[in-house]
């Protein structure tokens, strides 16, 4: 087991900067998840830690030791690839034991370890098969087994579940969580699935264009996102945003689309330019409700366990509302109101940073309607 530390790590392919001076501390035994949009450099960062990609700048420490120049084969890590990367010409048993053979372990020791890992992952009956004779889920287990058998200091996963169908993904997610609880090894897990991120992680790193947007516990990122990007990235359906009308706002009164009008005492912060509200924070009410903003009811989706409604606030702006309550009796095209608790309103400044209003936000009386 070991901690992983990145100091000022950058990586460029030619003139193209993929990772831009990242500093990160991953603690011993922690389950750290990297999320971010496609192409933001998650895999590259993971490969940098693994030693498969040399850094352009900066240092990598594993267990407190400088390993920046240590080749991948000597770092004592395990890597689970998205495509599993099982050796097609070896059976499952040899796939798992190959690293041990390479390390010249004794035959009995190898057999003992392979048996143990196979039992743990319930693949004992597959040991003689070739990878191409396995299903996706089974391949995934073998890939994890191959990682597990070397008793590595750190596990690295690169989107290990993205090739599986939804059911299997849930099952494997559960198993990976269990695995971490069992072995308590440091794990670094790349995904673009936010459910995986939220459910598995001790802490999440949100990456965007090679930079860290925010690091923190899942709940923390969800409730107190540092900026607009993080707020919009976590949550499904994603957060609703709307720009504030700057010309109409004056002093502490903020005005915006759909008759939005709040007054806020924001101590010394920059003027907010955008508001954000999560779909589940919104409530559909009648258009006359005081303090509600108004829009046109467009469409409702009944998912069985919840309803997702779409309300058009302006030409270009459609907000989603999520509720678990009973069916809402609005007709398509009807003007409806949306209301919320003041604490659930997010304000964002010019630079995208979230502005803390501490719930000190009030309806500007008489202004709304």
């Amino acid at each position: 087991m070991a901690s992983v530390t990145l100091k000022n790590v950058s990586k460029s392919f030619g003139a193209y900067d993929v990772i831009r001076s990242i500093d990160l501390e991953i603690e011993d035994g922690e389950f750290m998840v990297f999320v971010g949009p496609s192409g933001c450099g998650k895999s590259t960062l993971l490969r940098v830690i693994a030693g498969l990609v040399p850094v352009s700048e900066g240092d990598v420490f594993i267990g407190g030791e400088q390993v920046t120049e240590v080749p991948a084969s000597k770092r004592g890590l395990a890597f689970v690839f998205q495509s599993y990367a099982l050796y097609p010409h070896m059976n499952v048993s040899r796939n798992i034991s190959f690293a041990l053979e390479t390390a010249r372990l004794g035959r009995d020791e190898i057999r003992r370890r392979v048996t143990k890992v196979a039992e743990m992952l319930k693949i004992s009956h597959l040991l003689d098969r070739r990878p191409r004779q396995l299903s996706g889920g089974q391949r995934q287990r073998v890939a994890i087994g191959r990682a597990l058998v070397g008793e590595p200091e750190v596990f690295l996963f690169d989107e290990p579940l993205s090739n599986l169908d939804a059911d299997l993904r849930m099952e494997m997610r559960f198993e990976i969580a269990k695995l971490h609880a069992d072995v308590k090894t440091t794990m670094i897990y790349v995904t673009h699935d936010q459910t995986e991120a939220m459910t598995l992680a001790d802490r999440i790193v949100i990456l965007n264009q090679g930079r860290i947007e925010q690091v923190g516990r899942p709940r923390e990122l969800y409730d107190r996102p540092a900026n607009r990007f993080v707020a919009g990235f976590l949550g499904s359906p994603r957060m609703n945003f709307a720009p504030l009308d700057r010309a109409a706002s004056s002093g502490s009164v903020l005005r915006g689309v759909g008759g939005f009008c709040h007054s806020a005492e924001l101590a010394g912060a920059d003027a907010p330019v955008e508001i954000g509200l999560r779909p589940e924070a919104l409530k559909l009410v009648s258009a006359e409700t005081k303090g509600a903003i108004r829009g046109t009811f467009e469409r409702m989706e009944d998912l069985g366990y919840e309803y997702v409604c779409y309300v058009r606030l302006s030409e270009t702006l459609v907000w989603t509302v999520r509720s678990t309550g009973s069916p809402l009796a609005f007709a398509e095209g009807e003007v409806v109101g949306l209301s919320w608790q003041p604490v659930s309103l997010y304000l964002f400044g010019d630079d995208g940073r979230r502005i803390d209003h501490g719930g000190a936000l009030h309806l500007a009386l008489g202004a709304s309607l």
């Binding site: 490969r47 991948a72 690839f81 495509s83 990367a85 099982l86 050796y87 097609p88 010409h89 191409r132």
Partner: protein
């Protein structure tokens, strides 16, 4: 908004299409047969001629006369049998050497990122553009410096110039197509570069190795110009030259039957090799061995 309907294209009756399909199938078989006959006739002619001797050779007949005297004479000709052994050794050795060098080069060029790689690859291709005659005299000098003149090893060395370029090219593109992640997985598993090559990549390159190996073996087995130039004495000759220099019982007799018998004999090992490896190549390509 007017909905425009296009009139259905003119079509024939069902039985017309059936007739068309039958005519096409028939035409296909006829043309395949024609191509096969055209390609195989010279070989058949060689086989037929090899079983004739004396005057029979000069009478046109498509049927073999089943007289194996030519083969009998051939197998008792020490020069020819020696040449057969020489050819086998030379072709085998040059194939092996070019495979080993080719695989190592292909791994370096196909995977390891180093900038002169592209230039080297292009240079390798350029080498194979020149006709053999162009390199002949230069090669002659080299063989002289290496003191290999009139030795079979001269041929092994000089054949590399023919076989290495395409071996390297084919293997390089094959290695490039193998998923990088396999190799990365092996590196993570603690393998050195060489072990990655021998334990992970090589087993997957079977089809490519079989086909390039086969091609370079055939090339070396049939090569004539270098073999004629660099070898002086009969006991070191390879088969293609030995056939060219076969002599009859008298100065004035051209041993046509024997030459044909020799040609047929020489093709047999190649045929066997092709049959063995062709199955391997096909099996490797269809088993999805590469996809993980």
């Amino acid at each position: 908004m007017a909905i425009t309907t296009t009139a259905p294209a003119k079509r024939y009756s069902n039985s017309t299409y059936r007739t068309i399909r039958r005519v096409r199938t028939f035409g296909l078989y006829v043309s395949v047969t024609a191509v096969l006959v055209y390609m195989l006739f010279p070989y058949y002619w060689a086989i037929v001629s090899s079983t004739k001797s004396g005057q029979a050779l000069y009478q046109f007949s498509l049927l073999p006369s089943l007289d194996f005297g030519n083969y009998w004479q051939l197998f008792h000709n020490p020069v020819f049998m020696g040449a057969l052994v020489n050819s086998g050794l030379v072709a085998f050795a040059s194939t092996m050497i070019s495979l080993v060098i080719g695989i190592l080069a292909a791994y370096a060029l196909g995977r390891l990122q180093f900038s002169p790689g592209r230039i080297i690859l292009i240079a390798v291709l350029m080498i194979s553009i020149f006709p053999q005659v162009v390199v002949l005299s230069g090669m002659f000098e080299v063989i002289g410096w290496l003191r290999l003149y009139n030795r079979p090893s001269a041929l092994i060395v000089s054949y590399l110039i023919l076989t290495l370029p395409f071996t390297t090219w084919i293997l390089t593109s094959f290695i490039r197509d193998l998923p990088t992640e396999l190799e990365e997985a092996a590196l993570i598993d603690g393998c050195s570069r060489l072990r990655v090559l021998t334990h992970v990549l090589l087993p997957l390159m079977g089809p490519a190795i079989a086909s390039t190996g086969l091609l370079s073996f055939i090339l070396a087995w049939n090569e004539f110009l270098f073999a004629l130039t660099f070898i002086l004495t009969d006991e070191n000759r390879t088969v293609p030259v030995a056939i060219g220099l076969l002599t009859g019982s008298s100065r004035y007799e051209y041993p046509f039957g024997q030459i044909m018998a020799a040609s047929v004999t020489v093709t047999l090992p190649l045929l066997v090799l092709v049959l063995i490896f062709q199955r391997k190549i096909v099996a490797g390509l269809t088993s999805g061995a590469v996809k993980g």
